[in-house]
């Protein structure tokens, strides 16, 4: 009897991972960034949410290696005098939280809709997929902007700042579920005529059970692949919303709102406020996408390159 650990050690997944340098580097960087985000309160030299440690006299200090830079602030400070390293770590944490939260929400909505539409077919399929099509015909960012404007109006700006994280999760989740719904539906259509589904019906299982415990596990590999890309997309959407001033408030900046906050000062010479968060965002999105590509190749035996 093999343990899970032994099975994993022998698996093709690990084998191909070890052979793919890009995947390994991406994975290490991603792991590093995620750990940094998770342990931000331990790693960050300052707490950017604590107004008592912020001194307005420190504002717009350049990185420490430049003239006028101070060794206290390695990457300099932002316009309010917060240490950029700390703010970026905390910001990454918020971005990741929103990204993953939004993807989970998208997946829950999208998978349920896709499974139901694909398995039941007929009118239900037509209605659900037309809803998805209608939503896809708008840009996701536009949907997100409309929803967030409505939410901000109805909650009031003060309340909004407190509830910004869950609200952004909902907004981005709602804006991008059709991706999942379509992917899942397509694979369900391929699976539902296979004999094991017929056999499950003959055994007397009900539709919900067949959908979730028989068909769903067989459609998971495309879902896994788009999940990686969707996390990157969600982080980007959040950054875009924040950049447009509809995302995280300045008091609790995400990566996106940091980029936005620094953007106004980029021509007055304080380029670092925008530059470092932007680099962080690009690296983060890039490694996720590279890992997603690798995962797609591994999970699709048709692309097996020997």
């Amino acid at each position: 009897m093999q343990t899970r650990r032994q099975k994993f050690k022998k698996s093709y997944l690990l084998y191909s991972f070890k052979r793919d340098k890009v995947a390994m580097v991406s994975f290490s960087i991603l792991a590093l960034l995620l750990l940094a985000a998770l342990f931000a309160p331990l790693l960050a030299p300052y707490n950017p949410y604590d107004p008592t440690v912020i001194d307005i006299m420190d504002s717009e200090l350049p990185p420490s290696w430049m003239e006028e830079g101070e060794p206290r602030f390695f990457l300099g400070t932002d316009i309010q005098g917060r240490d950029l390293v700390s703010t970026m770590l905390y910001g990454l944490r918020i971005s990741v939280l929103i990204g993953i939260g939004a993807v989970i929400l998208q997946a829950v909505i999208g998978i349920s809709v896709g499974l139901t539409a694909g398995y039941l077919g007929g009118k239900i399929d037509a209605v659900l997929m037309r809803i998805a099509d209608v939503q896809l015909s708008f840009s996701t960012l536009m949907v997100a902007i409309i929803v967030s404007a409505i939410v901000q109006l109805s909650f009031g700006v003060g309340r909004y700042e407190q509830l910004a994280v869950p609200i952004l999760i909902v907004i981005i989740g709602i804006a991008e579920w059709p991706q999942y719904a379509r992917t899942v539906r397509a694979s369900v259509l391929g699976e539902k005529n296979k004999e094991y589904v017929e056999a499950a019906r003959v055994v007397g299982l009900d539709s919900r059970r067949i959908m979730f415990s028989h068909i769903l596990p067989n459609t998971l590999s495309p879902v896994l692949v788009i999940s990686t890309v969707q996390v990157a997309n969600a982080v980007m959407s959040e950054a875009a919303l924040s950049f447009l001033g509809l995302g995280m408030p300045v008091s609790k900046p995400s990566i996106g709102s940091l980029i936005d906050a620094g953007f106004e000062y980029i021509f007055s010479g304080a380029w670092w406020i925008t530059f470092f968060p932007a680099v962080l965002l690009i690296v983060f999105i890039l490694v996720i996408n590279l890992l997603g590509d690798w995962l797609r190749d591994v999970l699709n035996p048709k692309l097996y390159k020997g």
């Binding site: 094991y196 055994v203 007397g204 299982l205």
Partner: protein, 328 residues
């Protein structure tokens, strides 16, 4: 009263240009412990008969006439929910290809436990124990270990045994086996057939064996229905049918078997000329008449009734001129 009684069953498929009758006036019974064979060419309606019994004919098909009585209950009138209680619980079905009928991503333990829990209120632990006992029943060695394995870790014959074990897990009254050995090689085929026969006796089950292999039917079953173009054309005890086929089609099938009838090493295998008509274009009269050696004028005009043949026990044949009938 029989365990399963099918009366005048008609199944039709609604197509764009009208209804296609896939089963026409099919009647038969199945008793406890009885092993019934259903033979015929592809498209004769064998599998549709099997699916009709568990009321699982896929759209656009439907049961358009007739009754299906199981334990005195009209199966054709049950709701989908009530039918789920019967399906897989009182009546199980086994399919042709064991490579395809198990879900590749679930362990066989999960699939067995799930089937049982869909019909009984029991704990997973109890369900596992029952699953183990059923795997023992179908002669799978070290069942505890096997429960945690995935379908790809089994050979074809083993998988078919597992499928039989899943079919048995709720202790059904009837098993419908739809070509259970077609995808397996001959030695495994014999094993599976022996197993099914053994289980019918030990578990008090009725077996409905759907196949196109007369050899298998002759070995396993007690009674045979021969189907042609959606109708039963001969219904007889297996021994009688093999010894003395009365419908010209059955006789043709027997003659086409190597080592039967007029066939031996030196002669060519006999075949029935032509092929079964498409169900949309059945000629009037007997549906077999274009291929029949004994065709007369009446065969082209009037379809024969399925009738008892004098002096041949309870055999039913649908032919104007059955082979070997004493003509007064």
């Amino acid at each position: 009263m029989s365990l399963l009684e099918v009366k005048n069953l008609e199944v039709s498929f609604a197509l764009r240009h009208g209804d296609l009758v896939a089963l026409n006036d099919v009647s038969f019974t199945l008793d406890k412990r009885e092993r019934l064979g259903v033979v015929g060419e592809s498209g004769a309606g064998k599998s549709v008969t099997g699916f009709a019994v568990i009321n699982l004919i896929s759209k656009p098909g439907r049961i358009s006439k007739g009754e299906i009585l199981f334990d005195g209950q009209r199966l054709d009138q049950l709701s989908e929910k009530e039918m789920r209680e019967i399906r897989g619980n009182r009546i199980s079905m086994i399919f042709q290809d064991p490579m395809m009928t198990l879900n590749p991503v679930l362990t066989i333990g999960t699939q067995m436990v799930e089937t049982l829990k869909a019909h009984r209120k029991i704990s997973t632990q109890e369900a596992r124990e029952i699953a183990i006992s059923k795997l023992e029943l179908v002669h799978i060695p070290s069942p505890e270990r096997r429960l945690t394995q995935y379908p790809h870790e089994f050979s074809g014959g083993m998988r078919q045994r597992i499928i039989i074990a899943i079919a048995l897990i709720t202790e059904p009254a009837i098993i419908i086996a739809d070509e259970p050995t077609t995808a397996l090689d001959v030695t495994i085929q014999a094993e599976i057939m022996d197993l099914l026969t053994e289980l019918c006796n030990s578990q008090d089950m009725g077996l409905m064996l759907i196949t196109h292999d007369l050899g298998v039917v002759a070995e396993v079953t007690e009674r045979v229905l021969v189907m042609y173009a959606g109708k039963i054309i001969e219904n007889a005890k297996t021994a009688d049918l093999v010894a003395n086929p009365m419908h010209p089609y059955t006789k043709g099938l027997m003659n086409a078997l190597p080592g039967h009838g007029t066939c031996d090493r030196d002669n060519r295998l006999q075949q029935i000329p032509g092929s079964m008509p498409n169900l949309t274009e059945i000629a009037p009269g007997c549906s077999f008449h274009p291929r029949c050696d004994f065709c007369q004028d009446i065969c082209k005009e009037t379809a024969p009734e399925l009738r008892k043949i004098a002096g041949s026990g309870d055999r039913l044949v649908s032919c104007h001129f059955p082979v070997g009938e004493q003509v007064q």
